[in-house]
Symmetry: C2
Amino acid sequence: MNLLLLSNSSSDAGYLTHALPWLRETLDGVKRAAFIPYAGVTVSWDDYAAKVREALDGLGIEIVSVHETANPTGLVGEADAVLVGGGNTFQLLKETYRVGLVELVRQRVQDGMPYVGWSAGSNLACPTIKTTNDMPVAQPPTFEAFGLVPFQINPHFTDAHPPGHRGETRRQRLAEFVVANPEMPVVGLPEGTALRVASGEMHILGAEHALVFDPTSPEGREISAEEIAALAV
Amino acid sequence: MNLLLLSNSSSDAGYLTHALPWLRETLDGVKRAAFIPYAGVTVSWDDYAAKVREALDGLGIEIVSVHETANPTGLVGEADAVLVGGGNTFQLLKETYRVGLVELVRQRVQDGMPYVGWSAGSNLACPTIKTTNDMPVAQPPTFEAFGLVPFQINPHFTDAHPPGHRGETRRQRLAEFVVANPEMPVVGLPEGTALRVASGEMHILGAEHALVFDPTSPEGREISAEEIAALAV
């Protein structure tokens, strides 16, 4: 498989700018990419597609959004790559099921089609969406997602906690996931990082360490490049 | 109906301490209360029940947790009140459906049994759990909940946002809910506040203002006591 799973899209440099070198590598040889905009809730899908086209203009790839065609499965079936944008993970999964794209994307990516996801799009690459940070504003038919990697990702991982706030920290939320789902490790991706899967190997991109959450360390620990590599099967 | 819906349980004063005067009023005359501990994930239900008994010791009420009996519906059917504790909203709803308590609690509370919820327990009093802040670590059969009030609550409402974090703010998350569910207003309850429904009237408790999120103010605005009162039908 050929995957690029980004924690986030925006940085001080601009929209997806920090990821351009990684996108260039992942999408090498791609002429036409299908974009899945369904995570956009407060942005229209037209505007979302335009924003992504502008951000990736320099790559020389034709980007067609699945909402721009009457035949989304035909588009994904013939595209050279799929890009899954961030926003609300619950709406993204609900709509992806509604138009019948879940099994098709899974099959094509397992057959080698490049997959790029950011934020909610990285959540969808996992077995389920159970480690999303998003509010469940829409109800998908199931939490099961593409299952392209054999572990969960928590994008936008942060240790920060607003002073005076009595809600759970991110580590506490992920510890709950580990107790409820002890068989499934979680990789926490801090802002600016990404996972790259290619040629059967996985490594982390970006300056920060990734963290892993599992029954031996339910509140998380930093993991090495070797441990990251061992997570991908 | 007789409802006390708290934003949070803990404060600098201790567990549920800030809410004791409100609990005393809501549970006046109650001899035996059923406690629903299912939101506890990283705390055992035994420990959770013990913690609540200790916190409410001064009220002189016998508190029995639904996990301590082989007959949870019998317990709730005969109790004088129901207390629904905070933790993970998704697991709380999943387990409450599993043991067959959803319709029973709804009926008894609509018939006048006092209902006290905090955090996830306040989420469950709403039509759905779509405005929880929690991570979806468990999949309930549906997002539909008790529907005791005709609006959504967002507990632990905060304006704070960790510096450098690129994820959504709480206001942005709730704005997504409003776009996806324009017919359903949301009340944001800051820490330390609660909603009290009694004798057909609703008011806010605690020092802070509540906020409302709806299509006219998708990112929220403070609401007055009169507007709060008008939300309850």
